[in-house]
């Protein structure tokens, strides 16, 4: 199977056309194998999660932590919902025709793409100016703790990892992958809209040369099939029992005090009270 399909253009150049659509199955099957492997590992091989006592919370501090700890603002949740709908629409409109479900997909695809683009622009501004921008990026503690967890999983002696900040390292790495794939898909997709009829641009298929266009289609396709795997894995983790509290927090906006104390380090993520507890001041920061 050729990874990229090439052709000769009218000017005699060999130009890339798009990725081989067989890669769709590589991504989908790879993701399925990963989640089967992960499920087996967690069920039969994984050791119980242990955190270092160094991050234990004094009982006095714990008592100050609200019953419901705010995790995702309404804006962040709405963004996630809209982005998820747009992403699923993009994947279905892109790949259902490739597996034999034929329909007029182009218009739905670019409309979903526009929705995704607008939601991502909103997210960039929202995360930069209203949220803790750095909370989603891996930091030094994450790297050290990842090393400790790997060592312990392999049976080596290593200190227990500390509790997470707002996001576990896995979430941060997933966000990084989605960011790279998403920006690639959006940037190439915006240019590709110059090739079809939309209300936004005058069509101009000669905006770039065939070689540039070809690589743009290849990158768009690669990001698309990457998302098939990423979304599959995301849905899998979202419904895993031990991760359900994170999924629920993306719906309701908060986690419980117990979940907070069990998984998170107040030094790295100070608790704020969920807005729904209206009897208390909104978003009161609790000192760690």
């Amino acid at each position: 199977m050729n990874l990229i399909q090439w052709a000769q253009n009218p000017w005699g150049q060999q130009v890339p056309l798009h990725i081989s659509w067989g890669l769709l199955w590589v991504s989908a099957i790879g993701a399925l194998l990963f989640l089967i492997g992960h499920a087996i590992y967690v069920k039969f091989l994984a050791k119980p999660l242990a955190h270092s006592d160094g991050t234990a919370v004094a009982s006095g501090i714990a008592a100050q932590i609200p019953e419901r700890v705010a995790r995702h603002s309404m804006g962040a949740r709405l963004f996630h919902l809209i982005m998820a709908i747009a992403m699923l629409a993009l994947l279905f409109t892109a790949f259902l025709p490739k597996v034999g479900v034929k329909f007029a997909w182009v218009e739905y695809h670019w409309i979903a793409g526009v929705v995704l683009t607008v939601s991502i622009i909103y997210h960039i501004f929202h995360a930069t100016f209203w949220l803790d921008f750095w909370s989603i990026w891996p930091d030094k503690v994450d790297i050290e703790d990842a090393s400790r967890r790997i060592d312990r999983a392999l049976g080596k002696s290593a200190p227990a990892p500390r509790k997470f900040a707002k996001y576990p390292l896995e979430n941060k790495l997933y966000h990084l992958a989605v960011m790279l794939g998403g920006l690639t898909a959006v940037l190439t997709g915006v240019f590709m809209m110059k090739r079809v009829e939309t209300p936004f641009f005058t069509r101009n298929p000669y905006l770039f040369g065939d070689m540039t266009w070809g690589w743009m289609y290849v990158l768009h396709g690669l990001s698309g099939i990457a998302f098939v795997g990423l979304v599959t894995v995301h849905i899998y983790f979202a419904i895993r029992p031990e991760k359900l509290f994170i999924t629920k927090s993306m719906i309701f906006g908060w986690i419980t005090r117990q979940q907070y104390l069990e998984h998170h380090d107040p030094n790295r993520w100070p608790a704020e009270e969920a807005a729904s507890e209206s009897a208390h001041p909104k978003a009161t920061k609790v000192p760690a």
Partner: protein
């Protein structure tokens, strides 16, 4: 790219004698197999080296695919029946004169002797960028060379274009739609019968195919119901060369009138989109109205609503409008309106 050669590259030729054998061969060789009817579309592809199948399944020896049969509700025409046989068959001429008119306009006598009705409706697009072998959308690429600022698109689509602007070149297709014909398709799962208008496919749905035929499927027959037998028919084809050429635009209509009032009508045009276009809005609008100049003008204007001409095919808009007007008025021949 197209390089004209005298000799067709070698392939393995099969000449099955039954539909079952043909289907077995198609199932065995899958995408490597090519279905050959009259060969007038296929040999162009082969000689230009653009399509190079390893296996060709020639349907010419399957007797059940040939001939015109009278049924309890009209006619059944085998897909391998030649256009000449369609044109000359008495039952077709007597009750469904629209189809012989369209088939006779398809090409020269020599081509009609060889070309089949199934091949005529199933033939591929004639866009020269596509036929030239360039990696356009229809060929699996990511551009339409005809729909670019410098593209030559005088013969291309004004309606329903979706990335690809090639048009369906068939003359018999709009006539079959006007006659409410049914296409009989043998698939691996059995027989499937679809309305003629649903046999053709828009590039938005599948940009690499002109019809709903999947690999392994065979169009075996075309059934024409008696619904429109003896109706008032109109077919007209406008082309660059009247000797033989593909249609720039053609129109086919079947109309039942009471006095001069249109009671029912089916109307289709081709050469304006990647599929023959049935003008249902026009059909609805003209029913109950007199077949006169005023109705014809209204029908013509309605027919071209939504047309989006390219740089070089703006003439197709008035051409289509006028052909629809003439179909409503029922004026055969003569000067365009």
């Amino acid at each position: 790219m197209a390089v004209i050669h005298d000799i067709i590259p070698a392939f393995e030729l099969f000449q099955p004698s039954s539909i079952e054998n043909a289907q077995a061969l198609l199932a065995r060789y899958g995408k490597d197999a090519w279905v050959l009817a009259g060969g007038l579309d296929s040999f162009d592809w082969f000689k230009d080296r653009i399509k190079r199948p390893g296996v060709v399944v020639d349907l010419s020896q399957i007797k059940e695919l040939r001939g015109v049969r009278t049924t309890s509700d009209g006619l059944e025409i085998g897909a391998m029946t030649t256009l000449t046989e369609v044109v000359r068959h008495p039952a077709v001429r007597e009750k469904y004169g629209l189809l012989p008119d369209a088939a006779e306009a398809a090409a020269s006598p020599q081509i009609r002797n060889q070309g089949t009705i199934g091949g005529n409706v199933s033939q591929d697009a004639r866009c020269w960028y596509y036929r030239g072998g360039w990696p356009c959308y229809r060929a699996g690429g990511n551009i339409c060379y005809a729909d670019t600022p410098t593209g030559l698109n005088r013969e291309h689509a004004i309606l329903d274009a979706d990335r690809c602007v090639a048009v369906n070149p068939s003359d018999s297709a709009p006539a079959l739609i006007a006659l409410d014909a049914k296409m009989v398709i043998q698939t691996a799962r059995g027989e499937k019968v679809v309305d003629a208008e649903n046999y053709f496919i828009n590039p938005g749905i599948d940009i690499t195919r002109m019809t709903i035929l999947q690999p392994g499927d065979l169009l075996t027959a075309i059934r024409i119901p008696s619904t429109w037998a003896g109706a008032k028919f109109y077919f007209e084809k406008v082309r660059d060369r009247n000797v033989w050429d593909f249609a720039l635009v053609n129109v086919a209509s079947a109309m039942v009138t009471s006095g001069n009032t249109i009671q029912k009508i089916r109307l289709a045009v081709n050469g304006v989109a990647a599929h023959p276009v049935r003008l249902t809005a026009v059909e609805t609008a003209v029913v109950g109205k007199p077949a006169n100049e005023q109705t014809a003008k209204m029908a013509g204007d309605l027919a071209v609503r939504g047309a989006k001409p390219l740089q070089h095919n703006g003439y197709k808009v008035p051409l289509m409008r006028n052909l629809v007007m003439r179909a409503i008025r029922g004026v055969p021949g003569g000067e365009a309106a």
